[in-house]
Symmetry: C2
Subunit: 217 residues, 2 copies
């Protein structure tokens, strides 16, 4: 059975691949699993039919037969557990890779999302400019620690894994912020991810959704 995921009908990132369906698309492409995409509007995301699959009204979701999942990290892990190639076979290395998946969404991503949200929701507030250096500093601290650990390794822990899918897509959200450049190993790490054929196929597919929405709109 072909799984179906959800993605934005018209992504606010204008096709830059920053929405969380990109992680899932990339994982599917790495393992060679076909998938269908159901596009949802912002209005649909808050309606009962979508909330039945995603209680918090977001994308992506994953449906296959009777199984419905939400949370991009959980979906990527689900794909990685059912296909070879995205998790190490050694049990300890596998646990470490899953640890990095949690680190990506729980330790690295939150201050990045916080900065993005402030830019959308608080840009006109009198405190926005005063708070921005504090938000940047929280991200810089995480990037410094991540860069220290990555060193001159190609990937987070040995071979490329689902952890790198999560971390590269989290870091890409800083594109244009100017924060990555202080740690040259991080843009190089992102570039290694983006150079993978599976990434490029996934990116093209999500960009095509946006291009069609633009043409229709």
């Amino acid at each position: 059975m072909t799984p179906t995921i959800t993605a934005f009908e018209s992504s606010p990132d204008r096709g830059r691949g920053l929405a969380r369906d990109m992680r899932v698309r990339w994982a599917f492409e790495e393992v060679g699993q076909r998938y269908d995409v159901r596009l949802v509007s912002f209005a649909q995301m808050k309606q009962p039919a979508h909330l039945a699959v995603h209680p918090f009204g977001q994308i992506p979701t994953y449906e296959e037969g009777g199984l419905a999942l939400f949370e991009s990290g959980a979906i990527v892990l689900h794909i990685a557990e059912r296909h070879p190639g995205l998790l190490p076979e050694d049990p300890d290395a596998r646990s470490r890779a899953i640890g990095w998946m949690f680190a990506a969404v729980n330790t690295v991503e939150p201050p990045i999302v916080e900065r993005s949200m402030a830019g959308v929701l608080e840009r006109d507030e009198p405190w926005y400019e005063a708070r921005l250096p504090m938000l940047d500093e929280r991200i810089r601290a995480r990037l410094g620690q991540l860069s220290d650990r990555l060193g001159d390794s190609d990937w987070l822990d040995g071979a490329f894994s689902a952890a790198d899918i999560m971390m590269v897509t989290v870091l890409r959200r800083l594109d244009g912020s100017g924060l990555l450049e202080a740690h040259p190993s991080l843009p190089a790490y992102i570039a290694r991810g983006e150079a993978r054929p599976a990434y490029q196929r996934a990116f093209a597919d999500q960009l095509a959704v946006f291009a069609r929405a633009q043409a229709a709109g």
Copy 2:
């Protein structure tokens, strides 16, 4: 081999069980696995020996033989995968439980941490009072969605699982905020978790650490 975790030498929560080692202690108690605890000071957490285990300089960590893990969600999942009782045996139900573990740390916890951090880092800033209703509203939205999904179920998805360990401990961080009370199913859910003997043993053990630190200090 007995695993060793790390916890705060002197927890800033004053023994209320809000630090992230509580999740791991609770999981160990549920499955009946003995464990050792190594206490670390805030200064030690930023030193190379600790950063070698936790690149972001936090607690908890998990060490067993040659394996070192960090991220509370990943550690609880590791324990749940190696002992019966914390994850459903049905593969679909297991994937859903892991999905809820990600939701706890990636969707529910970030706005809660954000509010706590503002209370510590920005309490004296001129914008603190003006921003607080916005921070509260973000949490309220999540709590409403979580409460809608939980309904009158005892646990998130069928039987008690590692997902409930994560979600209950995340929600407990709102203790004293007044935000939980609008959704009576949530305090009741937390209370069901706290009533479990394994929770109580874990809570007593982390409280004893704080009590000893107080007596010594």
